[in-house]
Symmetry: C2
């Protein structure tokens, strides 16, 4: 059965969860238009997540809370030190003492604390990136009545998710901005464009399929529906919306010609994610096998990012963006209605 129907959405539009550039405000705005807003939880403390869920609950619309489902890596001091040694010229340029940089996980996977918050706030939808949490945690989510979604970047991943009973699979085409949801393979050549991935997943699984990657216009939504999608998940198109928390530096990059050249990079987190090519990516990547494992790579670049941003430069900032960089500076509700074809631009 259609996810859109099960959630009684009036528009087949899901706002993609985008950690770091939004909070509940964006999700609430999209929900108010009749789409499904999403809250990215991966970079929130339990206290902050609780506060955001409270805001969403008060808005009274179905919403999606998104968690990462990765297995945290074992710390590897040698690898971390070698990586920081490679970055030493950059640290020197900004007067940063490498010994002063704290480590840290960067992003937390879904855990018992998060499950308890889902049980308490009962969001209509819970989505995962990088697979699914273990069966016990997943059962706790399912028991709340939440519909469960996860991203597939290959047909094999879609089948894996469908076999575990997800309520819908998000077909994340290679065009999508931010982190690739890939979890069965780490070979980026397995990643497939939306035009090819979406119909293959539609043919491979029985559950509804949500199209993601490169969709930023009403025509794109219609095309995705023509290819068998039940709904569309759009992220990039909301990056400059009024309710997004995207920084002015990031907004400026999105509005520039530079946004036409994105690449998959593992430099900012340790996993491949699509962002606008900037100095850090040109000098060290975009994909570098020496970067620490996800999410540990975040620590080494953090002080470079802070120092560069203080100078008004996005040279070390992850400028997440899909391959179709259309980012209207408008209210998210209006963008949602426009995407769905019920309001003109």
């Amino acid at each position: 059965m259609s996810l859109v129907a099960r959630l009684a959405l009036s528009l087949p539009i899901i706002q993609a969860p985008m950690a770091g550039v939004q909070d509940a405000a964006l999700a609430i705005a999209v929900g108010s238009a009749g789409g499904l807003g999403s809250l990215p939880a991966a970079m929130l403390t339990p206290a902050a997540l609780s506060e955001q869920l409270e805001r969403l609950a008060q808005a009274g619309r179905p919403c999606n809370v998104n968690f990462f489902a990765h297995t945290p890596p074992l710390p590897d001091a040698g690898r971390e030190a070698a990586w920081r040694a490679r970055l030493a010229p950059c640290y020197g340029e900004f007067g940063i003492d490498p010994a002063s940089i704290p480590g840290g996980p960067g992003r937390q996977p879904f855990d018992a604390q998060a499950a308890a918050l889902v049980e308490r706030f009962r969001p209509a939808v819970v989505s995962f990136h990088f697979g699914l949490p273990d069966e016990a945690l997943l059962a706790r989510v399912r028991a709340t009545g939440a519909l469960i979604l996860s991203s597939a970047t290959t047909v094999d991943e879609a089948r894996w998710l469908a076999a575990r009973g997800v309520d819908a699979v998000i077909a994340q085409g290679l065009e999508a901005g931010g982190h690739r949801g890939m979890f069965l393979d780490d070979d980026v050549t397995t990643q497939v464009g939306t035009f090819a991935l979406l119909p293959q997943i539609v043919a491979a699984v029985d559950c509804p399929v949500i199209a993601a990657g490169g969709i930023v216009t009403p025509e794109g939504v219609r095309a995705a529906l023509a290819l068998g999608a039940d709904a569309v998940q759009a992220g990039t198109v909301y990056l400059c919306s009024d309710e997004a928390a995207t920084t002015p530096l990031h907004r400026a990059a999105l509005a520039s010609d530079a946004a036409r050249h994105t690449a998959l990079t593992n430099l900012f987190s340790g996993r491949p994610a699509r962002g606008i090519v900037n100095r850090f990516m040109r000098e060290f990547g975009p994909l570098n096998e020496n970067a620490p494992a996800f999410p540990l790579a975040t620590a080494a670049v953090a002080p470079l990012r802070a120092a560069a941003e203080a100078q008004g430069r996005s040279d070390f900032t992850p400028l997440w963006c899909g391959q179709n960089p259309h980012c209207p500076a408008r209210p998210a509700a209006a963008i949602t209605r426009w995407l769905a074809g019920v309001e003109s631009a």
Copy 2:
């Protein structure tokens, strides 16, 4: 004005030229159904091309003749020798004497001889890959009345082609099989999926845009038209058609699960092209900076390919294929009508 209308095609389907796996037979079959058939000329001698053009002329339908427009590289004996040294273990495995391997260009660019054949046979359409030939040669083609097409893999390439007066731009999405048409840049991170590339090119140029890459079903054709395409160029879907010259080994690979994993590789020719991942790609690539420049890389692998194929193995065969490997074993005319939505599967 629509290319489909200018050519009086009854169906908005162009069969993609696929050097090495087809001749005029496939183009004639597609033309008989009301689509536009294409003849790949890049690997034909002038005599063979003349014979094929004669066959097409007798069929009496509009057709497209496709040429490569690359600039041949200067020979580099040192690079060639170093590459053959890397392949030495493979040569040894098949008992091949590396000193016995002839060099050779592999593919010829459009030249005065080819222009003379275009002037003689006057095909309705002439398309180019890797940009356009020089202005004098292009003027000779234009003077025949042929409509001129070329592939763009980025918005910049589309604008470059439109500024030179092409009659339509082929938006070649990253999903497409075979050679990337890229010509302004050799950085593969510039390559964009069809869902993102097509609407951006439609917005950037005034001429008709043809969608290519990942389109193998009537739903795909409808989606491409929804995104603003004037017509669709499809290749992979014809690879196992009755009229294709695709080898049994290639057909077997296309019908297997292996076809779900393609990658861009420069090992077979020197330029990135999408094919099914096989042993050669796994062991030496898929992209290897040491491969000779296009099209010179063809020579070194040729005897390995021949020796492996003689043993029934496709380990060294370029298994060109897009990211949506749906390859019905049917007459090409029926596939064309099915794609266009006027005949059921």
